[in-house]
């Protein structure tokens, strides 16, 4: 029971932290929408073209926007010593990475998920595709959070070039983009593609605690 309470109050802590820095989340959302406007202006007023490539644009921008927040995934807690304090409170490094991944999903990815309907109106994506977009993004964003956790824990000791973390996420997110966009454009094979996407989620979700936990441990030992 105590352990469950600790988990609940870990998320209470994360909630308080994210609410105190809500401007960061809003900046991400604003970046996302401004990028959509830039795409629309650069493509021109042709509705057909925008609608045809809309889903691709949406996924690319979702990926770029979610990598913007990766810098703060573990960095703040690592620098002020809270990672070690959380660990001393009974959480293994692997478990901390799982909790942090869900926290990233809740406080960074869910706002994007909620803003998808507005983005669909802007990009002239039909209502019929909205369900597929939601389904693919719910799974895809959790995959991106897991990849983000691995890459940002790898980059904790890297003080110079943080973009490297975003590059790692982008390379490994190629299959996610392929299958997510595939789901929306090939509705008849929805079941098989969503299963593949779910499979990718299970793989990265299994790797995440091992890889991130080890990277966190190494970073703290060498700090």
């Amino acid at each position: 029971m105590n352990f469950l309470n600790k988990i609940i109050f870990f998320y209470y802590r994360e909630y308080k932290l994210n609410m105190s820095g809500i401007q960061d989340i809003l900046t991400n959302i604003i970046f996302f929408f401004i990028s959509i406007f830039i795409f629309i202006f650069s493509i021109g007023p042709d509705k057909e073209t925008i609608s045809f490539i809309g889903v691709g644009i949406l996924w690319t921008l979702l990926l770029l926007s979610s990598t913007l927040s990766l810098g703060k995934f573990y960095q703040d807690d690592f620098e002020n010593g809270n990672l070690l304090i959380i660990h001393l409170n009974g959480f293994s490094f692997g478990f901390i990475s799982i909790l942090k991944t869900f926290s990233h999903f809740l406080f960074v990815q869910v706002p994007f998920l909620l803003s998808i309907p507005i983005a669909c109106i802007l990009l002239n994506i039909g209502n019929d595709k909205l369900f597929y977009l939601f389904a693919s993004f719910s799974i895809g964003s959790l995959i991106l959070s897991c990849l983000g956790s691995i890459s940002s824990s790898m980059n904790l000791m890297n003080q110079r070039n943080f973009l490297l973390g975003s590059v790692v996420v982008m390379i490994f997110s190629v299959p996610v983009i392929i299958f997510s966009v595939g789901i929306i454009n090939m509705e008849e094979s929805f079941n098989s593609l969503i299963n593949i996407l779910f499979g990718i989620l299970l793989i990265v979700f299994a790797i995440n605690p091992w890889a991130s936990g080890l990277c966190l441990k190494l970073s703290l030992e060498n700090n």
Binding site: N2, N5, K6, F9, F10, Y12, R13, K16, L17, S20, G21, E79, N80, G81, N82, L84, I85, H87, L88, N89, G90
Partner: protein, 137 residues
């Protein structure tokens, strides 16, 4: 110890040269988070007394980022009190503190040791309290 690592961790806490309190939040928020997250058995009245003793009660609604270094250091000690663990590991516990606060900290150390607690600390200055073992480097 490796077998019962988390059992061991249940009795250990530390203060490093960084401040672990969340700078964007107020002292009140930090205290609330610590109290709940560490499942502390220290009650509200005891925390209030500790806040008053450390002279932090007047800054309760102030963000930690706006406090001076000495005040954040005292806030770190409040975390140790809330965590209520037996072994404290401290790095330079008396640096950046004024005379009154230093005296207060020494008193806190002695109180902790009198309650079967242990403190392992490194310091450049002589803390002026009874130590069981001293290693000079």
């Amino acid at each position: 110890m490796k077998k019962n690592l988390y059992d061991f961790y249940n009795h250990v806490t530390y203060i490093a040269d960084t401040t672990s309190s969340l700078r964007k939040l107020t002292i009140k928020d930090n205290v609330n988070i610590w109290k709940k997250f560490f499942i502390s058995n220290i009650n509200d009245a005891q925390i209030e007394t500790a806040l008053k003793t450390l002279k932090l009660d007047i800054y309760l609604n102030k963000k930690v980022g706006t406090l001076s270094f000495g005040e954040t250091k005292k806030l770190e000690f409040l975390r140790l009190i809330i965590e209520n663990k037996k072994v404290w590991i401290l790095d330079e516990p008396l640096s950046n503190l004024d005379e009154d606060s230093t005296e207060l900290m020494k008193q806190t150390f002695e109180d902790h040791c009198s309650k079967e607690g242990s403190i392992i600390f490194s310091s450049h200055q002589n803390p002026g309290i009874y130590v069981t073992e001293e290693i000079n480097l």
